[in-house]
């Protein structure tokens, strides 16, 4: 009979183990979220990430090895973004009718995201590379990393800030918008897509289909607008 250590050595080298663990951790996080009556602060992504990070640390597994399994999940981010075209298509007449509110909300939300992140961190003594990396944190990761690289930020740090922003946005959107009394699902979804990219959009889809469609539009438009605006706003803080 093969002993446990040998089985472990085999499994830890195959993608299967960490792919399974990623799905299991998310399923567990999702179960917690449901058990907490969908309380926004019980975030399934945050729970799954914490569980997996703990597990990697306990087993002494490197991120590189973990990613050999998890890459199959990660890869689906691109196809999922393409799939956002479906709810957009279903809501196309409503999206068309809301062009003016969307345009102004995009401009306001996008400028607020960049300027407030830079302003607050600058006031608290953050300078240089970290400041440049902060400017694109509300846009989808590949765009944010590209922008950061162009304006003197660090792509790795930017990716970290993008994911943190997404988790925060997904967690705070529902209570914040309830507090503000915003009942229009178009406005709720769109603002979350602009401020918290794909993670916010993923959350919006789970809450309401209209919000999901508008979040996808907001995410796509803000990727373009931030690429144009971020370098100019950053200049004020250099």
């Amino acid at each position: 009979m093969t002993n446990f250590a040998e089985i472990w050595v085999y499994l830890s080298r195959e993608p299967l183990l960490w792919l399974t663990a990623t799905l299991a951790a998310y399923a567990l996080g999702d179960a917690c979220y449901r058990a907490a009556h969908r309380a926004p602060l019980v975030n399934p992504v945050l729970i799954a990430v914490a569980l997996l990070a703990g597990l990697l640390w306990l087993t002494g597994t490197t991120y590189k090895r973990y990613f050999e399994g998890a890459q199959f999940v990660h890869f689906l981010l691109g196809p999922a973004t393409v799939c956002l075209g479906y709810p957009m298509y279903e809501n196309l007449p409503r999206v068309r009718r809301a062009l003016l509110p969307m345009g102004l909300a995009l401009l306001a939300g996008s400028i607020t995201a960049v300027a407030s992140a830079l302003g607050i961190s600058y006031a608290l003594g953050v300078h240089g590379e970290a400041l440049a990396s902060l400017s694109a944190k509300s846009t989808t990761a590949p765009v944010a990393m590209g922008i950061a690289e162009k304006i003197g930020g660090s792509p790795t740090l930017t990716a970290v800030l993008v994911i943190l922003t997404g988790i925060m946005g997904a967690a705070m959107a529902t209570p914040l918008l309830n507090l503000l009394g915003v009942k229009d699902w178009r406005a709720r979804g769109f603002a979350v897509g602009v401020a918290a990219h794909g993670l916010g959009t993923a959350r919006a889809i789970q809450v309401n289909p209209t919000a999901g469609a508008f979040a996808g539009v907001g995410m796509g438009l803000n990727a373009v607008l931030t690429a144009v605006l971020a370098p100019y706003i950053l200049k004020f803080f250099l």
């Binding site: 990430v49 973990y66 479906y86 509110p101 607020t112 970290v160 401020a195 993923a202 789970q206």
Partner: protein, 117 residues
């Protein structure tokens, strides 16, 4: 199902090719999303083909961010001593951006009589 997956990957591939060959600031998958909307508009039957697969993938889109999230944990140290300041800036800025975006949308929609049905 195979045809729907093929369509999704083909749209992404087309977007990726266009984005890179023209050096656009828009990532390939976002262009693929636009291509998907266009294809759905042009071919009504295509929507039936796409519906279940798209809804299936999007229903658990949050899961797809987990591997990147785990990577973030290992890079928390890259925030350095500026960690608390950056963290605070992210929280406040994200809240402000969501609030301002949503309130402007509602205000403009109200002012122009553009209400949702």
């Amino acid at each position: 199902m195979i045809h729907a997956l093929l369509a999704i990957l083909a749209a992404q591939l087309a977007g990726e090719t266009l984005s890179r060959s023209l050096g656009l600031p828009i990532p390939g998958p976002v262009l693929g999303m636009v291509a998907m909307v266009a294809a759905l508009r042009l071919i009504p039957r295509f929507a039936q083909l796409m519906r279940l697969v798209a809804q299936g993938i999007l229903g658990h889109m949050s899961l797809l961010f987990v591997p990147a999230g785990v990577g973030v944990v290992g890079h928390m140290s890259s925030l350095g001593g500026q960690g608390p300041a950056i963290f605070l800036a992210l929280i406040v800025s994200t809240a402000l951006s969501i609030a301002v975006g949503a309130l402007v949308f509602v205000a403009v929609a109200r002012a122009t009589g553009n209400l949702d049905d």
